[in-house]
Amino acid sequence: MLNVIDYVPGDTLLHRLNPVTKLALAAAIIIATFLSDTYAALVGLLAFTLLLAVYAGVFGRLARLLKLLVPVALIMLVLQLIFVRSGETLFAFVTDAGLVTGGKACLRLLGVALPLVLMLMVTKLNDLANACVEQLHLPYKYAFTFTTALRFVPVFSQEMNAIIEAQTARGVAYDTNNPFKKMKLMLPLCVPLLISSVSKTDATALAAEQRGFYLRTRASSYKRYPIVGRDVVTLVVCVALIALGFVL
């Protein structure tokens, strides 16, 4: 299984932006998505995110995530349709107001999930951590915790896959179609996974300390992450996006 948040190398403007600026851009799109309440704005923001992805050459990767998210969004739509009872009934239990709010909820879900993932795809985790330490004065401890957590996601999912394979080979019927049954079969596996994760994190902590983790300061990073012209322009765009969200 490939990881959706893996870094995709590239040399586009989006790649070259300061990681903090990228974070701000993602945040701005998300805030605007929450604030705006018209279809035009929601669709526009989503389209903007997707266009950025196309520009940065990661659309294919993002589309894979989209494939996972669309069913979730559709479930959300159905729930909204069931629970929103105001408005005129169109057919069966579907009301027009339900359709409108449900559709918006769908778009919001996608609009909130995608920008942050997009930013992570075009940013190396270390750059993100170092830039946050340098520009946002975030203590390195927290930055390291965050990046390590993200880095461990694929490591643990590999471990989980290996465990599931071993159990399948013993005859545990994970190929069942019943999700509850599958859940029940998966639960006992948490024990081996937990044990291996705890020992792995402990080993990582030791390895980091043996390489001078506690000596690190804001000035340690070899690479510098200055805010330059293109970042300022992008930050202005961010403010504009949020303002747009307010208005629409």
């Binding site: 190398p9 270390n126 071993a166 399948t168 596996l189 030791l206």
Partner: protein
């Protein structure tokens, strides 16, 4: 020369109740030494490494007595970070060692932290990458690298910090023979050119003995023996008593010396030394070496198991191909037949497709071409849970297999899954547990690594399967544990199970497998009797497999000294043949 590391009566236990993991250890390591540490599991090797790297007393808690001085300073009086300026350490788990996701960042991390002048960083970094030969990997993501490459990255990251001592805890545990040798070549180079003191803990004794200048043998927390590899291996019997393997060539030379056949000099650490010893010993025998055999004598008949006579094959692969959807090692044209009671070894480099083959056997993967038939079932239209009743797999890492709270539940679990009545399953499980001498009511995760492997093996034995698939069954085990596992497996084969085993340790393969399948690049290059294929130099070279020492030696002796040596696969036969030839004189 000054000692860079000194330990003075050091004892350590991981808690006041626990036994001493280290018991009154005193040792000196001179600057520039290349020290190898061997010993059975539980001997305290990793604890020793933790003491040397400062992880004890600074990371692990427990009771520590005595003094460890690094470059003259007691490790208790300085911080772990200060110790790390002198001692760089590489741990067992390569993945957990990494702190970044890109190779370059991994190297930068330590350099930045220790405040290396930013003007020098570029130079230091490229030197470290060049020293281990991975300059081309600089911008790669660590997650996409192979085990050997990751290990090199870990060494480069430590090397960049210019440590004076390198402490490595089983750096090659997860690597194939070729990558293992590469790691040791790098260590030797660093030791020679940069004068870095190297201390390495290792299970692969034959490999280690070629590289290190001094060896420490540990047993039950104590230092049992120390000296040069030649000195240490002269005590072959004592090593065997504590559960440490000796290289096969050492066993040969020690036996010859004991029987008074060869001049008792130093033990032979490699094939070359053993070859010279036997050649020189036999040089007085008339007629030897003059008419060297160009054509080796025909193979003596390999003792076949009763299977071959008219038995139905239990496993057949016909032109099997498999390709992973998103790349990865694909396999093509795999055909093989295995009969009940056979023990077949699969050998080849990492990435040759061995693991893919095992997954095709236990149904985890379905062939995209051809067919796999197991006990009459086509894997393509049989659910994995049904196949599991016929095929039992022992994985490399027992922790992935174990999921129950007691050993008894764990061993009975597989049987229950295949629909055996729970009380009957427990009864059968109890019998197997008793035979293995395991504690039935203990939690498996509280046992040692070797015992956990035995629990996993018990779970396989209890199934009484038609086919047993073993994926690196001996990695991470010490010599004694390895022999217990393999003897159990052989016992299963004698009771009619077919065994298919993937293994990197060619000595184990040659001891136990009667047939081998040689793989490279997803294809089968050869299959047949183990002794014939191992003696096929061309085949071994094409598949990058190092033949077992005894077969290599026998072949060279057969060619240059006497045809009587051809097709010998065991230490005792070499000794016996030398004896016979001497008798002729």
């Amino acid at each position: 020369m000054a000692a860079i590391i000194e330990m003075e009566s050091v004892s350590f236990s991981y808690g006041s109740e626990a036994e001493h993991a280290l018991d009154d250890i005193s040792l000196r390591v001179e600057a520039g030494d290349f020290v190898g540490v061997i010993g059975p599991s539980g001997a305290g090797k990793s604890t020793l490494a933790a003491c040397l790297s400062g992880a004890i007393p600074h990371h692990f808690t427990g009771e520590l007595f005595g003094a460890t001085r690094i470059d003259g300073t007691d490790t208790c009086e300085v911080t772990l970070t200060d110790i790390a300026r002198i001692v760089g350490s590489v741990n067992q788990d390569i993945d957990a060692q990494m702190v970044a996701s890109i190779v370059e960042d991994e190297l930068l991390f330590g350099l930045e932290n220790f405040g290396v002048d930013h003007a020098d960083i570029e130079r230091v970094m490229s030197e470290a990458l060049d020293a281990v030969g991975i300059a081309d990997l600089r911008h790669r993501e660590i997650a996409t690298l192979s085990g050997g490459q990751k290990q090199k990255v870990a060494i480069a990251a430590i090397l960049a910090l210019a440590p004076r001592v390198l402490v490595l805890d089983e750096p090659t545990a997860a690597l194939d023979p070729v990558s293992s040798r590469m790691v040791f070549d790098i260590l030797r180079e660093l030791n020679r050119t940069k004068k870095i003191t190297v201390i390495v803990i290792e299970q692969k004794v034959a490999l280690l003995s070629e590289y290190c200048s001094r060896m420490l043998v540990m047993n039950a927390g104590r230092l049992e023996l120390e000296g040069t590899p030649h000195e240490v291996f002269a005590h072959g019997d004592r090593l065997r008593a504590i559960g440490v393997d000796s290289p096969r060539t050492v066993r040969i030379s020690n036996s010859l010396a004991r029987d008074g056949l060869a001049v008792p000099t130093e033990p032979c650490l490699n094939v070359e030394e053993a070859y010279r010893l036997i050649r020189d010993t036999l040089s007085t025998v008339p007629g030897i070496g003059e008419r060297a055999a160009d054509e080796p004598e025909p193979s003596p008949h390999v003792p076949a198991r009763p299977h071959a006579e008219g038995a139905e094959p239990v496993l057949t692969l016909r032109d099997v191909g498999f390709t992973y959807p998103n790349g990865g090692a694909s396999v093509q044209d795999l055909s093989m037949t295995v009969y009940p009671g056979e023990l077949v070894g699969i050998v080849g480099q990492n990435g040759a497709g061995k693991t893919t083959l095992t997954k095709l056997l236990n149904g985890l993967l379905r062939p995209s071409q051809g067919a796999v038939r197991i006990a009459g079932l086509d894997t393509r239209d049989t659910p994995v849970s049904t196949i599991a009743a016929h095929v039992a797999t022992l994985f490399q890492n027992p922790d992935r297999q174990i999921c129950k709270n007691t050993v008894l539940d764990e061993v009975a679990f597989g049987l229950e899954l295949t629909g055996v009545d729970p009380s009957a399953a427990r009864e059968r499980a109890r019998r197997v547990i008793k035979r293995f001498g395991l504690p039935a009511t203990e939690a498996p995760f509280s046992l040692s690594r070797g015992q956990r492997q035995m629990v996993a093996l018990a779970g396989v034995v209890v199934m009484e399967p038609d086919i047993v698939v073993l994926d690196e069954p001996t990695s991470g085990l010490d010599y004694r544990e390895c022999m217990t596992v393999m003897e159990t497996v052989r016992d299963m084969a004698e009771h009619g199970s077919a065994v298919v085993m993937v293994c990197h340790d060619m000595e184990v393969v040659s001891d136990f497998a009667e047939r081998i399948v040689v793989m490279a690049d997803g294809r089968i290059l050869g299959r047949g009797p183990a002794s014939d294929l191992f003696a096929d130099r061309d085949l071994m070279a094409r598949s990058s497999v190092t033949p077992p020492q005894v077969i290599d030696l026998a072949q060279r002796l057969a060619h240059d000294v006497s045809p009587a040596f051809s097709h010998i696969t065991e230490v005792s036969d070499i000794v016996r043949t030398v004896k016979e030839l001497m008798g002729r004189a």
